[in-house]
Amino acid sequence: MEALYGIPIIGLLIQFVVYFVTELPGFSSVIVAAAIPIALGSLCGFMNERSGVVNIGIEGMMLTAAFVAWWAASIAGQLVPDVDFGLLGITLPLLIGLGAAIVAAMLVSAVHAWLSISVRADQIISGTIINIFAAAITGYLNLLISQHSPPSAGTFDKWRVPHFMTDLPVIGWLFKAFLGVGPIGLITLVSVIVLQVLLYRSRWGLRTRAVGEHPKAAETVGIDVIRLRYRNVILGGVFAGLAGAYLTIEFGNSFQGDMTAGRGFIALAALIFGRWTPVGSFGAALLFTTSIGLQRSIQFATPDPPLGDVLANLPFQFYSALPYLITIIVLAGVVGRSVAPAADGQPYERESRAA
């Protein structure tokens, strides 16, 4: 099975090793929390690239969504009653923020779809435009709005995993780390599994794979390539929207310019490393974010010398650069064996001009 490539297993294995070395359960929670936006970004890329559309605009889509989620929730907090649903800290303003973020990211995705599919512009250029535009417009509006200092609408709460699960021997901490997340985090976990199954078992998955590999063949059996690509790219926006919202109304509760800090690009690398599968890219995302947890854990509990001395004396910039370095190494070392969907990046022209 294409999905079982061991990458998620490697990701989990590293969690195990690190957990037993550091004996800090909070450490894994940090890694999972950092991996969620990256995994969501990968899912967005997955929806695009499996149907043959390259998306390097994930970063911009996430940034737009992060901005919209934060300000929409904030404004909604002043306009609508603060209804609390009593579950995972879900309130009406936060839901409005989440919804607005998803809609915004879907709109940006629709622009990308239009440029890539209908206009047949270069898909990497389309993604670059989205990144430049998102950085500029969110920076512009944030500067103006923050002068009026509107209040924060707060964040979603994490799920308090029941004791009977966390107290299980050996694997209890796993439940705590992976399930002890907010609603967007839980949606992520479910989406990863559901999309993996749909890709290989459902009609949608079969057709999507066919369109990403050989659109002409798909067209000749009556599949509407253009429509399927539009649908997948725009639905992919949902995940970019969730990723952005996660950053400003679940993981953190503020917005700063360029706060996505390359997560969209790391998501792209995770997608490639995970061989264009949802479970694979989630595992890759865990791998990438391990370095973030590493830095924290070394700060709080330095391992024994001599390893501890070396790790503690490395400049913090090294740890900050680590996910990017890992991405480069992974791309250089692994991508040779990772094959993209054959039609990825190629615009599809419906009426063949070959006589």
Binding site: S126, Y140, L144
Partner: protein, 384 residues
């Protein structure tokens, strides 16, 4: 699909062609200004209440800041300098079939290397220190371009992802070096930055018209000659258009890919060096810049042609030069320039649609066809 390898023989043909080439960029710029005006108007309540005249005020301030005086004009050229060099760094990459999104990192590492050399040479005579610092900057940028070029050529790691990753690594590298070994001790150092550099680029004109300007203007004909008049340029363009044919023709696509991105890095590194040595005079640990992404806009607007890049860089240089005054006088944030850039690119990318809407009939010399190799082979194995 037109390759501008040979200039058309007759003058009138040349003019007609230039007009055809410039028409769509011009339309895109006008449309972007219109959309920018709408953005300003819609956001005016956040500034000082609804104000239909705010766009005009903003654009007026922008124009005065860019062209209103000798100093403003010089400032436009100074702002264009890094954009010309970094724009060429992206444009030459396009010609070689590479999308260099790493201008940012190459710029930063070039700036860092030049700063390191210049601080080390503080006290040495300018005739020695300045050329050596510039060379150091070029070498730093070259190294930051060589790595993704080499990885692309020999492992297949796509340059779009690796150059972006190296941008982030460069930020951390600058933070580490400037915050640590190079942190200044002088009285003016109140946050993480170096001491002032004593051997700065000589100012030739106006308040800040430094010598880097001339370097940038020299780089344009050099790049043009390299691309269209030299055998190496022919090889770079062949690899960009069809790497298999290049291999068949006895060229070495892998080394050419490495060379092309190294050259791109060198140019972007020089941009960083001139910026620090000529404009800033020291290097802060968190040197914020958007030059790498601006350069992509410049290269696309200039259609990857050196002369086009020169004009596009001057346009964006003017916007940057005027943005400060715009924010000061009209309270419109400087980020508007980025919005304008993105919208210009959007209309360029949507060329076919713009053409149809405005019934423009010119030769298909579009961005898309210039760059048809970019998103192909994404994530694939390196060719043998």
């Amino acid at each position: 699909m037109t390759e501008r390898a040979a200039p058309p023989s007759t003058t009138s043909g040349w003019l007609a062609r230039a007009r055809a080439l410039m028409l769509l960029p011009a339309i895109s710029i006008v449309l972007a200004l219109v959309i920018g005006a709408i953005v300003i108007f819609l956001s005016s309540p956040l500034i000082n209440g609804w104000d239909p005249l705010l766009p005009l005020k903003a654009y007026q301030a922008l124009a005065v800041g860019a062209f209103g005086s000798v100093n403003a004009l010089v400032n436009t050229f100074v702002n264009a300098t890094p954009l010309i060099l970094a724009g060429l760094a992206v444009g030459i990459g396009f010609k070689g079939g590479l999308f260099n999104i790493g201008g940012q990192g190459q710029f930063l590492v070039g700036a860092l290397a030049a700063t390191t050399a210049a601080i080390g040479l503080n006290g040495a005579p300018g005739m020695v220190a300045i050329p050596l610092s510039l060379l150091a900057g070029m070498a730093g940028g070259l190294a930051w371009g060589f790595v993704p070029g080499f990885l692309k050529a020999f492992t297949g790691a796509h340059e779009v992802v690796t150059t972006i990753m190296l941008n982030f690594v460069a930020i951390q590298l600058v933070s580490f070096v400037i915050g640590g070994p190079l942190r200044g001790t002088g009285p003016e150092v109140t946050f993480d930055r170096t001491d002032a550099i004593t051997n700065q680029l000589p100012v030739l004109i106006g308040r800040n018209g430094h010598i880097g300007l001339i370097l940038a203007f020299l780089a344009v004909p050099l790049a043009w000659w390299l691309l269209y008049r030299s055998t190496t340029g022919f090889e770079i363009r062949t690899v960009g258009a069809n790497p298999d044919a290049a291999r068949y023709a006895g060229m070495h696509p892998r080394w050419l890919t490495t060379l092309t991105l190294s050259l791109c890095g060198l140019l972007a590194g020089l941009a960083g060096a001139t910026q620090i040595l000529g404009e800033v005079g020291y290097m802060p640990a968190s040197y914020g810049t958007t030059v790498g992404f601006d350069a992509i806009a410049v290269a696309l607007l200039g259609r990857a042609h050196p002369v086009g890049i020169l004009f596009a860089a001057l346009l964006f240089g003017a916007m940057h030069a005027g943005a400060g005054l715009m924010q000061a006088q009209a309270e419109v944030p400087v980020q508007l320039v980025g919005v304008l850039q993105a919208v210009i690119l959007f209309f360029l990318a949507a060329e076919l649609v713009v053409r149809r809407l405005l019934r423009v009939r010119t030769a298909g010399t579009g961005v898309g066809s210039e760059l048809e190799t970019i998103s192909r082979s994404y994530g694939e194995q390196a060719s043998r």
